[in-house]
Symmetry: C2
Subunit: 309 residues, 2 copies
């Protein structure tokens, strides 16, 4: 099976999604949908893909993609996905607002069933592959405690939250693990003209993204920000507990990655799984917890079982 895809949004994740589709042996990227004012920017032309201001324009020029990779900011994902699903497009996304995932899944499930389409939502690395690991770890060690320790790395969600505050021209937020699944936050801010540092620091400290964790805020100039804003990230996911009645079972997963590159790669893997589900006549919205691992890989099940099991 091979599949065609459209990349919806060409920010951090979208750029890497174009590359991940290019690298996948079974995928073909029909083009990119981006804001009209961005059309023709060099970053797009580098990979030589056609860009459109809407999915309708892409479909008119290239035909219907088997799946749409939603690479818009997370907050826009539910509306965008529901709209596309209702029109029969399969969608995948890395929606990462954890406490809104159940309601988003329910909404997308309804839209997907109405449109006869398949959605995979919350499918990046956390939520996403980390979620799969947490589930697998619980299946292996049902009694015990799991800690998800993020970082050290730049949190896109936290960075976006700071940028939305008054007085902030730009910002990057670093997540630092302090053990036991707890974190401290280091925020670099570029102030808007006339903004007072103490006001901005207070606003960050009061923001729900930051109010529960130790916080340090540092003011930097606009020219300095790129030097603290790279895409390195990681996670240490640990579980200790009992299998059956046997304690002292230790599991840990440690990864160090380029953050948007991994998110985009996971989107391509679940895009493949979504297209397969649709081909089997299924409709609805799913998470990575609902997907058999073999469906994430290109090629034949029997080959993977012989290689990997």
């Amino acid at each position: 099976m091979s599949f065609s895809a459209a990349v919806y949004g060409l920010g951090n994740i979208g750029r890497f999604a174009v590359e991940a589709l290019e690298a996948a042996p079974d995928a073909r990227c029909l083009g990119v949908i981006r804001r009209r004012q961005s059309l023709g920017a060099p970053s797009l032309d580098q990979r030589g893909l056609p860009a459109y201001a809407s999915l309708d324009e892409l479909v008119a020029a290239q035909g219907q993609p088997d799946v749409v990779l939603l690479c818009t900011p997370s907050r826009q994902v539910p509306d965008a996905a529901a709209g596309l699903l209702g029109r029969g497009f399969n969608t995948v996304d890395s929606f990462d607002i954890h406490d809104r995932i159940p309601e988003t899944l329910a909404r997308l499930d309804q839209a997907a069933r109405q449109g006869g389409a398949v959605a995979v939502t919350a499918a990046g690395w956390d939520p996403g592959t980390d979620s799969v690991l947490r589930a697998l770890f619980e299946a292996m060690v049902p009694a015990g405690t799991t800690f998800t320790n993020f970082g050290r790395g730049r949190s896109m969600g936290h960075s976006v939250a700071v940028r939305a505050l008054p007085g902030v021209a730009d910002a990057t937020a670093i997540t630092i693990p302090v053990g036991g699944g707890r974190h401290s936050r280091l925020v670099y801010v570029v102030l808007e003209r006339g903004a007072r540092f103490d006001d901005v620091r207070a606003a960050i400290a009061a923001d729900p993204y930051f109010s529960h964790d130790p916080l340090e805020v540092r003011e930097v100039g606009a020219a300095e920000l790129p030097f603290v804003a790279d895409a390195s990230h990681g996670v240490l996911l640990e579980r200790t507990g009992a299998s059956g009645l046997t304690a002292n079972q230790h599991l840990s997963f440690d990864m160090r990655i380029n953050n948007p590159a991994l998110t985009a790669q996971v989107l391509v893997a679940v895009a493949r799984a979504a297209v397969r589900r649709k081909a089997r006549g299924e409709a609805g919205a799913f998470t990575l917890l609902d997907i058999a691992p073999v469906e994430l890989l290109p090629g034949e099940r029997s080959t993977h079982i012989a290689r990997l099991v």
Copy 2:
């Protein structure tokens, strides 16, 4: 959903399977099938479970279990599973002879379809949960290399292989990782009367289980063997490569576990998944690569998605 189970075989894994069923909130162990000459042994009576010399005797006394956990030696698994599946019993096993898994899966699939039953095979930790991790790692990092480093710990398969050699009264084989997915073997042997150590060492070195790895064989007395034969084991599973076109992505999974306790726990998790598949009207044989992670956990999908995604 809750389910009833029978434990077929009461060796290393079977004993822990009884415990894992006892600890599971949704499982009920109807009893154990073991060799007639072993009936009434204290190890069984400790947990107060009824024991039978055949599955038919168990069914006559307790009713039909929803699933049978096959805890016999691996070599006996294909025949035992195919027989039970053909009669309509769902089965799960931790068959671990890697290069016979594809043929075993095909054979069990045919038997399961004929019997209208569900099998999950090769479902321990390797093959098993390690297989899931290898697949997930490839989905995240499609280009690169994976190394599975076992140990340090006792390999049941290698220990059994040594015990089958002439001149060997008892043995335990320790697997030691030496990096890059390669291992050395340390074998403790208790010789039979009149056996020559050099002959036994040569036979071990020539055995296909050992012929490709560095080997050290040590002779010990029968009284010493228990002190080098505990159930500690572990794995370090590493993958480095590229997501899309982005190299230098590092993933690793490290676990330190009681070996049969984890194997038995995985059997209980896939037993749950097998019963769910059967309840949905499916039939056939599957591996852990075919199973959505959420199906391995007791309770409701929506609860797990809210907690884990």
